[in-house]
Symmetry: C3
Subunit: 138 residues, 3 copies
């Protein structure tokens, strides 16, 4: 059994970190899959997905880490060539990764108690985004 | 066909890197899935999963890389707010990622000869952990 | 339904970044899966997979980021022990990750318009590589 759906979010950009756990849980519930896996996928090249304990301190700490890994104001050849000014956003997105796959058990996403699924929009402007959710199982 | 199981490990924390390849292989063997995929998932926010050639040199090198990316003694807002002292562990876990999905072919996980699946416990204390393994296929 | 195939590539090594989107699309087309997921997996410990807008600027920027995270000429215990000189390649591969899972919808990989799947060979020499592609769905 395969069930696909989308989550629409509006972001502020600039490494905006959004908790999408409830939305993913809701897709899994609608899918009627009891046991299987769920893939959350970002179809775009300036955003990513991961899990985190979603509290304001860690949201800030994660932003700081991305600034360390791919600084906002470093030189990017993408910017020299295309003038988009979002080279850092592309690099951060490629390093974080566009997909997350989690087990579904007894109809629920098997997350830890303090673990939330987050969508991270690295782009340098507010965006409207469709996140893809695909549930496979029985 | 979907088969789920858990791997229980006891870790020392502090970026403890454990080879769980044999345990994952064992779950896949039990599942009776011949062709499909296996997802290894960490249900928690201070640990992650990846692959590595598991030898003591690289285990040490990987620890050094995490220290570069999210230093143990940097300032973390998580620690200021909650006093857990494990902000670095959360950040490292979010960057590494909580899930790994690999092909299953002829009943075996299709790893390279020098490639092992590792569970990385970043937390600042020893932990007992349940790693989730989900096999989907036919 | 499960369908597995391989993509053979010849790389130049040294963080060679190859666009394998067409090859992955071709495997998905052959699989006859209309809705499901596709997993792209690197069976090896010195290469990884992610997505990026594949243009020469970002390819260079991504290489620069890997040099920041795991410098080519830092000290690696792997090199002291084994003399391979590719400790940095292993570390970069473990951090990037060996697998990517994307949704398949209406027989197509659900990528963004400017999003390509890339195989990154970090090793310190040219390699011939088999990338595994596994399609699961209906």
């Amino acid at each position: 059994m395969v069930f696909g759906s989308e989550i629409r979010v509006n972001t502020k950009g600039e490494t905006d970190i959004l908790d999408i756990t409830d939305e993913v849980r809701s897709v899994v519930a609608k899918s009627a899959v009891k046991n299987g896996i769920v893939t959350v996928f970002v179809s775009g090249s300036t955003a990513g997905v991961t899990t985190v304990e979603y509290e304001p301190g860690l949201v800030a700490d994660l932003r700081t880490a991305f600034e360390r890994i791919a600084p906002r104001h470093a030189q990017y050849q993408h910017d020299s060539r295309w003038g988009d000014g979002n080279g850092y956003a592309h690099v951060r997105a490629s390093l974080l990764g566009a997909s997350l796959t989690a087990p579904v058990r007894s109809g629920r996403v098997a997350l830890g108690t303090w673990q939330q699924i987050v969508f991270v929009d690295f782009d340098n402007r507010p965006r409207s985004r469709d996140i893809l959710v695909q549930v496979v199982g029985e």
